[in-house]
Amino acid sequence: MNYDLNKLSQTQQKTSTLAGLRKLLQLIAHEKKVLLLALLAILTNSSLNLLGPLVIGHTIDKYVQHKDYSGVIHNAVILLCMYLLALFTSYNQTKLMGGVSQRMLFTLRNSIFNKLQQLPVSFFNQNKAGDLISRVNNDTDKLNQFFSQSLMQFIGNISIMVGAGVFLLLIKFELGAATLAPAVLILILTLALSPWIKRKNARNLKSVGGMSSEIQESLHNFKVIIAFNRRDYFRKRFDTANRDNYKTAIGSGLANSVFVPVYGLFASIAQLIVLAFGIYLITIGQFSIGLLVSYLSYSTNFYNPLRQLAALWTNFQLAMAGWDRISQILSLETDLPVIENGIAESNVALLEFRNVYFGYNEDQEILHNVCLKLEQGKTYALVGPTGGGKTTTASLIARLYDPSKGLVMLDGRDIRTYSAEERTQKIGFILQEPFLFTGTVKDNILYGNDLYKDHTNEQLEKVIVDANLGSLLAIFESGLDTQVLSSGDSISLGQKQLIAFMRAVLRNPQILILDEATANIDTITEQLLSDILNKLPDTTTRVIIAHRLNTIENADEIFFVNSGEVSRAGSLNDAMDMLLQGKRVS
């Protein structure tokens, strides 16, 4: 299955802003009650804000122009009451809407992370880690900014704007329509330009992602850059990415700010219309000075939010571009579904490959018609030249991938019928590249291990000693409490492999796969490991991939894996002969 997000984005048809928004709104569908309350607060608040100028206009016409000061006081008291009520509704409007958006962001982050957890290994192989990290971190941050800051202003502004528009039309339709005319032009302009703006922003986001994965790659491998004296290479590559980013950023910056002065211009034109047309109406006796003052307020009330909306619109576009990239991930489905229970066969091998074919992509088949059987309690070795398909075979045993044709049977059932939990309990896999989480050795050994997770250090040490792993723990300076970092050279590769080994053994799997898991460990420690492996319960099946032959000399059976074909070698001697004579195809 194709998981390459960059390729997918080219083939996927662009979703419209509205469709994207609708999908986003589904995330808050369950908050209807709160939303209604918030809407009520918003409406009350805007009406109160908008009635203000009307009352003021009325005061001018009725009392100020007629020199009735007690009337002025009377209306002032009414205004004060309105303003006090607005104080209350305005607080609630923000509080309610903000609560909804914070919870929505929370749900959104959870669903992205959840999705990332569901997707198979191929997804992570096909995408650059830097790009993924940028997608998840930066793009959710863009949404975060929009939701935590812009959205409330957005709604508040829209309600004020709509209210002002309604008042303008109700009081004097002709004047109102004339005042709103420039807004229609703005709307048309906005609609016409918005795809362009969105495109510019999407391009910029992409170049930002490219730049950060560039930096990430170079910085993490800086020692190679130093040792090969390619500091200039780093500078050059970064320079290209930086320049590219500059270009797209200017593009998106100009696109984003194109509206600001235009909005100002139209707002002023509207004021001019009110002034000229209003005075004309007054002269023919259809309008009053007080209403003119109210109208000037309303047109400010209408166009000022519009100007802010222009800025908010940018944030909105940014957020939607981010949402686009995120929903691309959300729309992916794992290609490793758990299928319905099949019929379990009895009297079968613990694990069996039946005519398995596999390739990482469609044009390149890696495994061709592989058949093999693993019995309970035995030790198997996979040997063969590099690139022959050993790791691929092991990955299929652990169901990191599904075969393109053929079946993998575990305990007489199709491996696809097991839930991930059942499967991973049965199968332990020590990966070629050990991965550690930032934390202590203890955290890492117990990672994902429910059985011992509440053990104290003493209890855990006892468990480790009982599992014959005590001698390995001694290699770490502060034992279980030794601090390790996920990246960097805080401990050696060999030590990382030891942690991965302990982690896997303590999970007590039925099948334990070691993919060159001891390659960087010295031979004496390795003998310890080999003793530990031998002392595993009789029922444990071991699958060992190694280049160092002493690690496999105790194997019950040896499979020779070369150019995607797996054949049985009768003995270590046979395997050696095959290895020495075998022509490397890779």
Partner: protein, 583 residues
């Protein structure tokens, strides 16, 4: 009022110093901003005059429209120029700052990068630069024009009616004070919530980089819980910040409304008793709405400035780091004598190497063996100048490693790292990583590393792009590419760090023979686990816990070092076996 609104300007002298090289651009920017804002202040005045003229019955229609249109046009043009310059100025500042940072980082040592932490440097280059960009594009102009409008509008109000003006201007300190109080609290919360977001990102990053492990162990749920915890915390801070803002806006609006009420009551009174015109009364209302927005803006901008100066402080730490002293000038061709004299290395707290001395004659082969965490890799790092010894010396051809020109030095010393480091570019670029590589030496390196068949089998041959972290290659293929990379510079000294670990025995033998044949006279220093591969070497060192516990040729060590014999025995069966096959 002054103390309140101008405070943000004084706080970060650092960020403002950044603008020095762009003085021309910035002045132009401010000029346009002030021009358009200045004219903006004129608009209510025009309207007020219009209304007054009308009430006094000598209203000239064309005149007022002309004035108004002219003002609007000026505002538009200058406003437009301002946004364009704003974009260019901010992007240029960002680009140059990134460039400067990258240059600086590129000149730093390995130790610096490890200590500064690549993830943090990434933040410096992206998020921190972005917040400075935001400062230039928004804060700068907004602050200057806001101050201008506040002061300008206040002055105009005072010229119209000083008593009413005094009452209206009262709102500035009230709103300013509210902002100051809320933002002070919110800023503290922001800093804390940033920490939570960092935690959130850490969980995301580790779950992406460790995706394979998570799936093998089925710990998705565990990762999800970690994430949920951080995310809940993030939500809690989000809601806390929200409550502050929810209170801020209503108070500010209410204060502004009170000012409108004051205008109505006092202004109404003045109009009734004839001491103020109706037009001026309308103008007061207009100026009030002009006045409030800039106060808002100043409040928010002070936040932006605080963020930008925090970012700038972080960036400055990197920019101000001392350059590594690159004193070496020697460019001579190395013979290949290597000597370590009494070298100790303290890594963090613990000593990684203790008083290690060794000497390797040009063209000879030496092996370093020893258990995990013995300090073998650090020893190789010392030999490539990636790290410097705490005490003792490293000599090449009898001269200190520091006296060599680094470019010339690194082009003569090849290093095959233990961990596979493959860049996301074509195989050709991955191998010909140094710019001194010729096609000829590239070919030789590929042949020697036994990569010919593999590369020929690829769709685009040498131009095939291998993915990041090399996930599409097998462990052995990656190792051989790394070897070819080291050989392609035609090194005089080759350092191998556990090269044979992931390459099968057959290929390893072929490769070592190839090296002998194609690179005669090469000094070879190999860290390894396999005694069998190095039995015939000129010297074997046994390194344990940072100390050399035994040295000599194989036969000597077999006689003199029980530790060595133990290692040898642990590999016995295989060694015997391999000999059997080889002979």
């Amino acid at each position: 009022m002054k103390t309140d609104t101008q405070k943000p300007d004084k706080k970060p002298p650092g960020v403002f110093s950044l603008l020095k090289p762009y003085m021309g651009l910035v002045s132009l920017l401010l000029l346009f901003a002030l021009l358009s804002n200045g004219v903006n202040l004129w608009l209510p005045k025009i309207i007020a005059n219009g209304i007054d003229d009308y009430t006094k019955q000598h209203f000239v229609f064309g005149d007022i429209i002309k004035k108004f249109s002219l003002a609007v046009l000026i505002i538009f043009i200058f406003g437009y120029l301002q946004t364009i310059i704003q974009t260019y100025a901010s992007e240029r500042v960002a680009r140059d700052l990134r460039q400067k940072l990258a240059d600086k980082i590129s000149r730093q040592s390995h130790a610096f990068i490890e200590k500064a932490n690549p993830a943090k440097l990434l933040t410096n280059l992206t998020a921190d630069v972005d917040s400075i960009k935001l400062f230039v594009s928004q804060a700068l102009v907004s602050i200057v024009s806001s101050l201008f409008i506040i002061i300008g509008a206040s002055i105009l109000l005072f010229t119209i009616n000083w008593k009413l003006a005094l009452a209206v201007v009262m709102i500035i300190p009230i709103i300013g004070g509210t902002f100051f109080y809320v933002l002070k609290n919110v800023r503290a919360l922001f800093i804390k919530s940033r920490g939570v977001i960092d935690q959130l990102n850490k969980v995301i990053n580790e779950s992406i980089l460790g995706a394979a492990l998570v799936r093998v162990i089925n710990s998705q749920q565990l990762e999800y819980h970690k994430f949920l915890e951080a995310n809940t915390e993030a939500k809690r801070y989000g809601l806390k910040i929200l409550s502050f803002f929810a209170g801020l806006i209503p108070i500010v609006t209410f204060t502004a409304n009170m000012a409108a009420l004051t205008i109505l009551m006092m202004g109404g009174h003045f109009v009734i008793n004839g001491s103020m015109s109706l037009g001026s009364f309308a103008a007061f209302n207009s100026y009030l709405s002009l006045l409030i927005f800039p106060i808002f803006v100043l409040g928010f901008m002070s936040n932006l400035i605080a963020q930008a100066s925090a970012s700038f402080t972080r960036i400055s730490v990197v920019l101000d780091a001392p350059d590594i002293v690159d004193g070496g000038t020697l460019k001579e061709t190395l013979r290949g004598d290597v000597e370590l004299g009494d070298v100790s290395l303290i890594y963090g707290q613990k000593p990684a190497l203790k008083n290690v001395s060794l000497s390797v004659a040009a063209g000879s082969k030496i092996a370093i063996i020893g258990p995990t965490a013995a300090g073998k890799t650090q020893l190789l790092y010392l030999l490539t100048n990636l790290i410097k010894p705490t005490s003792g010396y490293v000599h090449y051809d009898g001269r200190s490693i520091d006296s060599y020109d680094s470019e010339s030095f690194h082009s003569q010393v090849g290093f095959v790292f233990q961990d596979s480091i493959i860049f996301n570019m074509s195989i050709r670029e991955n191998i010909a990583f140094s710019d001194t590589v010729t096609d000829e030496s590239l070919e030789k390196a590929i042949e020697t590393a036994e990569l010919r068949d593999f590369i020929d089998g690829l769709p685009d041959k040498l131009n095939t792009v291998v993915s990041e972290r090399g996930s599409s290659l097998s462990g052995g293929q990656k190792q051989r590419i790394m070897l070819a990379r080291a050989l392609a510079v035609n090194p005089k000294v080759l350092l191998l760090d556990d090269f044979t670990a992931r390459v099968d025995t057959n290929t390893e033998k072929k490769i070592l023979t190839n090296i002998q044949k194609n690179y005669p006279g090469l000094t070879l220093i190999s860290v390894t686990q396999k005694i069998a591969s190095v039995e015939h070497y000129d010297q074997i060192l046994l390194l344990t816990q940072g100390e050399i516990v035994a040295r000599g040729v194989h036969e000597e060590l077999m006689r003199s070092s029980p530790d060595y014999v133990q290692i040898f025995n642990s590999q016995q069966s295989t060694s015997n076996y391999e000999h059997g096959v080889a002979h």
